[in-house]
Symmetry: C2
Subunit: 197 residues, 2 copies
DNA sequence: AATCAAAAATGACCACGGTCAATTACAAAA
DNA sequence: TTTTGTAATTGACCGTGGTCATTTTTGATT
């Protein structure tokens, strides 16, 4: 049985996250240096790694929080009426992840955790995303808006696959104009969700 | 106009690749250290980085070669007769990439390069993969085996998306049994290629 | 208050990828 | 052969993530 953490430890953890979030705000995710975080937080480097498994563990909390916020926004707008509207609902997610390769890489590293231990924020975020999508798809299915020959869970995971695909392509070109990830997603989802014969 | 490289340079490059391949053979991709490569090749570290942009650049050649070999195998077996057979054709690719996260990460980093400069082996591999898939899908379409309402290019890229999705999930669980990537792919492709209404 | 075991924090140290001004080897021109 | 410009290579050095034996802090117990 593990003891409850002391107050000092919680404060330190909070300070680390606070400082890290500030640095991300100023320099972006890719500008985050562990040394900068500990320096501004006034702790030793080892302390950070006793709070988070590694740099990714820290990032996972920051990014997981943001993903949760995005999901709040998605849920607030209610279920979409058709496939096109669903696609539009995903735009904020694409915008967020598309802003920095670091986010994409990290999410991908956790992306299959839909079933495992939900102790991490990111994992919880994924579960929530797939759950929400599944619910929406179920609604669209009963409304006859999309194909009904596949379980909504499969359709939901397929959507995640296309999200990552579009983002992967996005990060490969140097962002010189080119179709933004939002536009690129539409044809895939259209073909994926279209009623089957 | 850049001069042709001298013989010595070509030899050095060949030696680096040879040594790197040997180390991968012995320790796997994730066991590859730049220092080991240069030590065994008998050159200085800087030399390696004058031949390859970074460690990924070296890996890209090794992995690109292997991908090309896999594609040779795929092409040799000819076009599949139906969707299920197509899925089976992809198994070697899944097995290869699924063996080490390093391969997956690297391929993903280059995965969107379907259109850009094909100077890299990996990029060429991707183009070749999508081309081959497109050709096969076209055949299946005219044979009436799969949906005909979408261009074969889109279907091909969708398949790539599902390949990566399945692999991403695969790397998230600790490989303790669980459905191997090969099995996991089938339901997605079935749903993706099924004739539409 | 004094004692003590567990929790928390420390910072010197390491591993590894990557850089670049300086050096050496080469091949063409004089 | 000697000179000379450039291709090729060198290795000391750096940035950054991560480790761990040691030290400090904390709060319960006597």
């Amino acid at each position: 049985m593990t003891r409850a953490p002391q107050k000092r430890r919680l404060e330190t953890r909070a300070r680390l996250l606070e400082v890290a979030a500030a640095i991300v705000q100023e320099q972006g995710y890719s500008g985050l240096r562990v040394e900068d975080v500990v320096a501004r937080a006034g702790v030793a480097k080892g302390t950070l790694f006793s709070h988070f498994k590694d740099k990714d563990g820290l990032l996972a909390v920051l990014i997981g929080d943001e993903v949760m916020r995005l999901l709040d926004g998605m849920e607030a707008r209610g279920a979409p009426q058709d496939a096109a509207e669903l696609t539009a609902r995903l735009a904020p997610h694409l915008d967020y992840v598309g802003q920095d390769r670091v986010i994409f890489d990290l999410l991908l590293r956790y992306s299959g955790t839909t079933a495992a231990e939900p102790d991490e924020v990111v994992t919880a975020g994924f579960i929530r995303q797939v759950t929400l999508l599944t619910r929406w798809l179920q609604v669209l299915q009963t409304a006859g808006q999309i194909r009904q020959d596949q379980p909504p869970e499969l359709l939901a995971e397929g959507i995640q696959a296309f999200l990552n695909h579009v983002l992967g392509v996005w990060f490969c070109m140097e962002h010189d104009d080119e179709t933004p990830p939002g536009r690129a997603l539409a044809p895939y989802l259209q073909a994926w969700l279209q009623p089957a014969g």
